[in-house]
């Protein structure tokens, strides 16, 4: 039952989210992700590599999704076609993909601080900003 609860938080997560292994197999995805890229859950069971590096439009997303395994977290904004990273899906092939132009990419670590997975969460562009005090 515990697993079901945590699974539900990810499954019902309102934004597209994928959890992937160091071999770039998608291990888990929110329902919102599967809807946007028009994938069925069965595809995830096949343990196929869904990343399509060559067709990806946003190179900063490609870089960030690799750098998670070096421990880097990144928040990216103004992405042009983020879902093109997945099996070469174009924006036209993805439902409602246009509203997601930001992404948070972060590593998942175990108790020994080893990075076991990477996560990408796609978010609507919100012009997020951090207004710092001017030192002058």
């Amino acid at each position: 039952m515990n697993e079901a609860i945590f699974f539900q938080i990810i499954d019902m997560f309102p934004y597209p989210m994928v959890v992937y292994s160091p071999s770039y197999r998608v291990k888990m995805a929110s329902r919102a992700f599967l809807e946007v890229v028009n994938h069925s859950e069965k595809l995830l069971d096949k343990d196929e590599e869904l990343f399509n590096w060559h067709n990806a439009v946003d190179l900063q997303l490609v870089e960030a999704s690799r750098k998670v395994f070096a421990g880097e977290s990144n928040r990216l904004h103004n992405l042009k076609d983020p879902f093109s990273l997945f099996a070469g899906k174009t924006r036209q092939e993805c439902a409602k993909s246009g509203i997601y132009n930001s992404a948070a990419v972060f590593p998942v670590m175990n108790d020994e601080n080893e990075i076991t997975h990477g996560v990408i969460v796609f978010l609507p562009n919100t012009c997020r900003k951090d207004t710092r005090r001017d030192e002058n």
Binding site: M1, N2, E3, A4, I5, F6, F7, Q8, I9, I10, M12, F13, P14, Y15, V19, K27, M28, S73, R75, N78, K80, R91, G98, I99, N101, A104, F106, P107, V108, M109, N110, T116, H117, V119, V121, L123, P124, N125, T126, C127, R128, K129, D130, T131, R132, R133, D134, N136
Partner: protein, 253 residues
């Protein structure tokens, strides 16, 4: 039911195997997540939530905080909207000002290094296997953060809160507690632009955001930003961005 829920809280400390990954994803999530029981009591907070509130321990929130009893939540008049999430809907609150003073008092935090924070909050239900709402999760994403207490930060916050209104230099200077002339000079010194340019740039940023929604026509986007596309606004957009709104949409969306 209560035993089952207690075991879920406990599971945060004891989880292993496949559950571990699910737990870790939530724990490592870079944005605060809080999960509530069906009566609104907090049952779970992730690491980002604790960091946001400066290392308040989970014990101070879990089992104690109830979102329906929070006077600041009640005072927003949005309780009915929030209740919809507890009835099974996903609800979204945009650009909510976080009551830092209240949080600071509640948890005895003295070292908040921010002046104001505005968050987008998405609240979504978690169902059990009979499709009944078992928990409700809230995802909090910082949209705007203001650090420092100086006059310029207050003015920026004011301009960004009133971007739909007509630009008002007198009122902005009043918020910053400065004369118009002194405020304009100081604002330019600190930001490199005039208050009007800052306001215009912010507004154009909003138009760019809304252009991503291709269900809206360009005219509707401008109208939603209180601007008339047939007037100076279109010219102003092109001057600032370098392309027309239509070209911008084609290029990026």
């Amino acid at each position: 039911m209560n035993d089952e829920k207690n075991s879920i809280i406990e599971s945060f400390r004891t989880m292993a195997g496949k559950d571990e990954l699910l737990f870790r994803v939530i724990e490592c999530f870079p944005y605060p997540i809080q999960v509530y029981d069906t009566d609104g009591t907090s049952v779970l907070v992730n690491k980002a939530m604790l960091e946001e509130y400066h290392a308040v321990s989970a014990d101070m929130i879990v089992g104690k905080y109830n979102v329906f009893k929070d006077p600041d939540v009640i005072s927003t008049g949005q309780i009915d909207v929030l209740r919809r999430a507890f009835r099974g809907e996903t609800v979204f609150f945009s650009d909510v000002r976080v009551p830092l003073e209240v949080i600071s008092r509640r948890y005895g935090i003295s070292d908040f290094d921010v002046e104001a924070v505005y968050q987008d909050i998405t609240v979504f239900p978690i169902f059990d296997d009979r499709d009944q709402v078992m928990y409700v999760a809230a995802l909090l994403i910082n949209r705007r953060i203001y650090r420092g207490k100086n006059e310029i930060e207050k003015a920026k916050e004011y301009l960004e809160n009133h971007w739909l209104d007509k630009f008002d230099l007198s009122e902005t200077a009043r918020v910053a507690c400065l004369s118009k002339a002194h405020f304009s000079k100081l604002f330019k010194k600190h930001t490199g632009m005039t208050p009007l340019d800052y306001y215009t740039n912010y507004k154009i940023g909003k138009i760019k955001e809304m252009l991503a929604d291709t269900n809206l026509s360009i005219t509707q986007v401008f109208a939603a930003c209180n601007m008339d596309y047939s007037g100076n606004a279109a010219r102003s957009f092109k001057n600032k961005v370098g392309v027309t709104a239509s070209e911008y949409r084609k290029k990026y969306f």
